[in-house]
Amino acid sequence: MRELSLHILDIVQNSISADATLISIYINEDIEGDRLTIKIGDNGRGIPEDKLMHITDPFYTTRKTREVGLGLALFAQAARRCEGDLQVDSGVGEGTVVTAFFSYSHIDRPPMGDIKGTLISLIALNPGIDFMYKHIYGGKKFFLDTREIKRELQGIEINQNEVLGWLRGYISEALEDLYGGEG
């Protein structure tokens, strides 16, 4: 994957497949501490202990349609290339949390990329799922909770064209603020 935001989009698909109704995405770009943390949590059905052991093995998958599961393996590899690692915490009925960390300044660290595209894709395709997004950059914060937006919309679908257009603008501005105009 060329971008970390693509990994995020991909890992969230696992949460969607696990029937999660609430998915949280947390990004902390800690420049001073030279550490990038990405955490994706959900309230889905969780992973049994015996399956957790194989979770980042590319030749292990619970799917029947094919024999490889690459998403988590690719994300773990990306982290390990950058003096980081990936951890999966889960239990049946307890949801799942995937945490990856990277050395922020590592030469092999993929760029964050189009995080707005990732968020819009998730919201547009999964109007029934709620997303909590928290992004910290050098101490500044951006927080988005689709439950709040849905409350304001009072029953109007969040993935209607006009609403998505508004969200696109809103997220653009928030990210520009976060990155101090350079994002």
Binding site: L6, T65, D114, I120, S121, A124, L125, N159, N161
Partner: protein, 124 residues
């Protein structure tokens, strides 16, 4: 607390039902969002689809599917007009999206050179 839990389940079921009912008789676009699709550019294809729909004020249901085993042909994009066959387009680029929307979704003509599979109506 059990009753609240039940209410939540009921709401989810109703929401799904509502979604299915609302999508009846509408054109459907399905994008492959498996790891293979995402790595091949599905997000950019989806953004292009959403922008075309917004620009042309189309009433189309956009949804996603996982890996269907044609990884080498990703990004995959399916179009199904009401009552018509489900057409799968492969190796779709941002530029192809406009053609597919205008020729197929709006004018009803299949973009033959991009088709990689077709599923007869009712064959799902």
């Amino acid at each position: 607390m059990k009753s609240l839990e039940e209410l939540k389940k009921l709401r989810e079921e109703l929401q799904k039902e509502m979604l299915a009912r609302n999508s009846k008789g509408k054109t459907k676009i399905v994008i492959g969002m498996g790891t293979c699709g995402i790595a091949a550019g599905a997000r950019e294809v989806l953004q292009a689809v959403l922008q075309e729909i917004e620009k042309r004020k189309l009433d189309v249901v956009v949804s996603q599917t996982g890996c269907i085993g044609m990884c080498e042909k990703e990004p995959l994009l399916d179009v199904q007009l009401p009552g018509k066959d489900r057409i799968t387009y492969g190796n779709v680029t941002k530029e192809d999206v406009q053609r597919i929307i205008v020729e197929h979704v709006i004018n009803g003509n299949i973009v033959e050179d991009l088709v990689v599979a077709r599923l007869e109506e009712g064959g799902e």
